[in-house]
């Protein structure tokens, strides 16, 4: 049974008809990998699914309900990661997580440590975000996704700037998320290290 369904999505960006009658469904424990050439509309699709872009027509439903009718309920189960890491340069990694994921979920300092260690971020690293490399910032942003503990992940190029070990780490946390019945829609050109029976592909042209 599909938890997330998209039906006949249409969206224009200026004169460009980016989403042309797109439909798909995604059940628990499944991952949809969105691919396509640059400008094909991968980020646009993810933003439209998240409700950041209004659709011209079509509908997205979550647990059988139109996401536009109960946006708050949908968003409370959504972890979103776009190109921007949403990290504050003048805050350390734990501070960033406390003040971003903390807006949505109650968790302890130990939970922050656990999330950071799962994404391979060094313990007791007191550096400010602006002093971190792009890959380290990405890891902290992924730690926020873990802390949010949401059923649905919408991730746009989550492994950009990550080294090989970082990409393997992402494969592990994604697999664990799917194993527990979570869903993920991921726009990426890189191969995702998840079981083949959990993976669906969607190529935008």
């Amino acid at each position: 049974m599909n938890l997330l369904s998209a039906h006949d999505l249409h969206l224009w960006r200026g004169d460009l008809h980016v989403l042309r009658g797109l439909s798909f469904g995604l059940g628990a424990g499944r991952c949809l990998q969105v691919t396509g050439v640059n400008g094909a509309g991968k980020s646009t699709l993810l933003r439209a699914l998240a409700g950041l872009l209004p659709l011209e027509s079509g509908a997205v439903s979550w647990r059988g309900l139109d996401t536009r009718k109960d946006t708050f309920a949908f968003h409370s189960e959504l972890a979103w990661l776009s190109h921007g890491t949403a990290l504050k340069g003048d805050l350390s990694a734990p501070e960033n997580l406390r003040f971003s994921a903390g807006l949505r979920r109650v968790f302890s300092e130990a939970d922050i440590d656990t999330a950071l260690s799962r994404v391979g971020f060094p313990h007791n690293d007191g550096r400010l975000a602006r002093q971190m490399s792009a890959g380290q910032q990405r890891r902290v942003a992924l730690a926020r996704v873990l802390l949010l503990d949401c059923a649905l992940w919408l991730l746009d190029e989550p492994t950009s700037n990550l080294d090989t070990r970082g990409q393997n780490m992402f494969g592990e946390i994604l697999d664990a998320h799917l194993e527990r019945g979570g869903l993920a829609i991921i726009a990426t050109h890189q191969a995702l290290a998840v079981r083949a029976d959990r993976l669906q592909g969607l190529e935008l042209t």
Binding site: L52, G84, L91, L103, R180
Partner: protein, 232 residues
């Protein structure tokens, strides 16, 4: 996704956390809130230099000088209100947080006022005295600037939201906000003039209060709509 249902955060706690975050960021970047304050002090200091420095003349222009300087200082700071959050993706995170965006933006606007509006209010006695206002007028001037600066921050949040994604949005921001700020300027300057004349200033203060209430009610909703449009 854990097996246990994650504990959600109330809107009040989320707003408080956002206030804490922005205050902490502001304290780590003093330049951002010192800039409008210094601008306010410099502009009000220029008036006596450019006009006849007789105290009676200065006292006459004091309300206008104070309020125009406060308005321009407020504009200077407004560009910073949502810009960084828009650029780094934080506003997107707020928009999909499952919490009312208008409430979160109100929390951000409160911090913005604390960092940029309140210092102007606190500096006002010094500036007003330098412009020849009697000491007895200071409480009235403080009260008028307190209400006026809150209204300017709230009104400015709508303009800041609308110009979020624009390059060089500062000019457009001024064009959008200045007309909306005219009532604040008129009633604020009138209240200040009455305070300096040591006359009752209840009427313009009530009107300023009404503007604050109206702005606090409508501006966060308008700012949230503006931010959502800018994020598209």
């Amino acid at each position: 996704m854990s097996n246990a249902t994650p504990t959600a955060v109330s809107s009040a706690r989320a707003g408080w956390l956002l206030v804490q975050r922005d205050l902490r960021l502001g304290l780590r970047r003093p330049g951002e809130w010192l800039q409008p304050l210094v601008f306010f002090l410099v502009v009000t200091t220029l008036f006596p230099l450019a006009t006849d420095p007789q105290m009676s003349r200065l006292r006459d222009i004091a309300p206008g000088a104070l309020w125009v300087a406060a308005l321009l200082s407020s504009l200077l700071a407004l560009e910073l209100l949502f810009r960084e959050d828009g650029q780094d993706g934080s506003l997107e995170q707020l928009a999909v947080s499952g919490l009312p965006l208008s409430w979160l933006l109100l929390a951000k606007t409160c911090v913005h006022w604390l960092m940029t509006g309140l210092p102007l209010v606190l500096a006002a006695p010094l500036v007003a005295t330098a412009l020849g206002a009697p000491y007895a007028a200071i409480p009235g001037i403080l009260a008028a600037l307190l209400l006026g600066s809150v209204a300017l921050s709230l009104i400015g949040a709508v303009g800041a939201g609308l110009t979020l994604g624009l390059r060089r949005g500062g000019v457009l921001l001024a064009l959008l906000v200045l007309p909306l700020a005219v009532p604040v300027l008129i009633f604020g300057a009138r209240a200040t003039a009455l305070a300096i004349a040591l006359e009752p200033m209840a009427a313009p203060m009530y009107l300023l209060g009404a503007i604050v209430v109206l702005s606090a009610t409508l501006a966060p909703l308008a700012a949230a709509a503006a931010v959502r449009i800018s994020l598209e």
